[in-house]
Subunit: 338 residues, 2 copies
DNA sequence: GCTTGGCACTCGGGAGACACGAGTGCCAAT
DNA sequence: ATTGGCACTCGTGTCTCCCGAGTGCCAAGC
């Protein structure tokens, strides 16, 4: 691949195809773009681009359509950053500033992102596993029932009830409380689990200590609130003009399989960079005909979780990437403040 | 409407149309059902049924299709209860018995219901407003920050943090704790709000009392965990053979508007009865071309919430109604035990 | 050597023609 | 009231034909 003009032709093809949704021919190309050459020249370039696998034609004597490889080149080298309009910026701030708690932030982000990009949005709830323990509280509901409340730096609160075999005295409870606090507060989730498991039990209450520690570890390790994702904008799938049963149905199914979505989001790069997976590049068959644009987010540029969108390979990459990045930044800022 | 045979013809039309998804003609009807008369007779009956608005033909010289009014008659007077297969019963119990907590019960119910009926399932989380306060706990995170934990009979736990203007002594906290406990525990949510608002503040801590009471009332009244719904099986929308953009898109949008879904579920009758809304019978334009089958559920035959399915008017009503009722009963039983 | 105008060729898709068949309505006979 | 018969309607699938967009290639020009 060489020649600046050839690249310009590819860029023009991608842009036209994205906006018109129809295969683009050489004549239309020279009319819509100031390429400074004739359609015959463009045809020659297109032949080369096709030979190198960047574009293809659905059938003889139709226009050209970018391949996954073509989109990849476009995203990596040809797309210029498209700044968001001021209206979009305003929408982001007004929309997200109204959030009242963490769940609300996630819910609003999903809706915002799907509206901005007109694609299906996926937002992961801030993951416990990368956050730290902020506080643990033990509340005796009755002498034999203990409410365990776990507060994490991500803002998530988790609570469980532990049934004890024998009643616990106030003194024992105080000891137990200081034990778990000492072993866990300030630690990362993984370290807290290790610390809790390694600590010596409260004298004479080994069973109760074990029960509480195990409950806490379970909450830390795989609590049901962990690894959750929110999905929104599924209605945008209806815009997949063609191939409903072949494309939309498996996608809808995959969108309900949150495990798959989590693996998808796991691809997101941690920093402020936006990851783009185009077509069959990833190991996910369900998404072989779609592209996924993701990025990490979290307070202090430390990625707690990821968010992104799923859409057809034929999408406005610059605009989508800008929207994803902007929302991730704004959400991170909110988490920073909260 | 008279004549037993005419009704039998209508029933046959509905059953055939539901299973074949194609307009049904007089000849096919007499072949598939033992009606004991000729196709000409059936044609006469069909002409009458059409005149009375129970069936219609998409175009001249095509078979007949039931109208909303026809489905209504079928559901009200012609459908016989179709018992679930033993495999289905087994699926329900194995699927739901594995649930670990309330959220899990709801999540599993949604998936189960959508698989059983092959429709879009909607399950409302047990509503706070009809449940009672089981426990309230106040935890001093710091002298000025109070964690308020609210536990309801529905099994839902809600927690909020209150920032106090001035530090609270342990004695004040004890007083405050007994005050809120006394005013709320055992009460219905509505009564608890009234009781809390009416109670005299802790002497010398009127501001703090007010703050805690208001936080509790807010959590009781419109907590974010209240009025939630889970949706599942949206992939089943892909089976809407025809009319994607006209039918599926608005439906997908409506399914994300949980407010609309809640109003939809609000139509559900409280007792063990199953409510069926067919086509444009309800006030919801988005669902004008779909039917909604709902029922209430909750412990002790006292409906805390509702669940149901949304599907095309052309659906297997007896089977769907049986599935909805069976799932509601089973979930109610689980809530009873929990 | 790249670029360009010209030209023949390909093929998908839309428009019309047509036959088929399912389904109906009506009528006269039972 | 039921039934067989029959003419009629009309949607659907198929076939053909034509058009035009788009291509590839070639020879001439800068």
């Amino acid at each position: 691949m060489q020649s600046d003009r050839r690249l310009a032709v590819l860029r023009a093809i991608v842009e036209d195809y994205v906006s018109t949704e129809e295969p683009v021919g050489s004549k239309a190309l020279v009319e819509r773009h100031r390429l400074g050459v004739s359609s015959a020249t463009v045809r020659n370039d297109m032949a080369v681009l096709e030979e190198e696998g960047y574009i293809t034609q659905p059938h003889t004597s139709a226009g050209r359509v970018p391949t996954d490889k073509g989109y990849r080149l476009f995203v990596d080298r040809l797309s210029t950053v498209k700044p968001l309009s001021s209206a979009e910026r305003r929408a982001i701030s007004t929309f997200l500033d109204g959030a009242v708690d963490l769940d609300d932030v996630v819910g609003r982000s999903v809706r915002l992102l799907s509206q901005l990009t007109r694609q299906v949005a996926v937002v992961q709830y801030p993951s416990l596993s990368r956050s730290t323990v902020r506080h643990v509280e033990l509340v005796a509901l009755t002498p034999e029932r203990l409410l365990v409340v776990l507060i994490l730096s991500s803002g998530r609160v988790d609570q469980r009830v532990v049934e004890l075999a024998a009643p616990l005295t106030d003194d024992d409870l105080t000891d137990l409380r200081s034990l778990v606090l000492h072993a866990s507060v300030g630690q990362s989730v993984a370290d807290a689990v290790l610390g809790l498991r390694a600590s010596a039990p409260v004298p004479g209450q080994a069973v109760a200590t074990g029960a509480v520690v195990e409950t806490l570890c379970a909450a830390l390790a795989d609590g049901p609130s962990d690894q959750r994702v929110a999905v929104g904008g599924a209605a945008n799938l209806a815009r997949y003009g063609d191939s409903f049963d072949t494309a939309v149905r498996p996608l809808l199914e995959a969108l309900e399989e949150h495990v798959v979505l989590l693996r998808l989001l796991g691809e997101a790069a941690p920093g402020g960079t936006v990851t783009v997976r185009i077509g069959a590049e990833g190991p996910f068959e369900e998404f072989a005909s779609t592209s996924v644009v993701t990025t990490g987010y979290g307070p202090e540029s430390d990625s707690l979780a990821a968010l992104g969108i799923v859409g057809p390979t034929r999408m406005d990459y610059p605009g989508t990437m800008a929207a994803v990045r902007a929302v991730a930044r704004y959400v991170s800022r909110i988490l920073d403040e909260g």
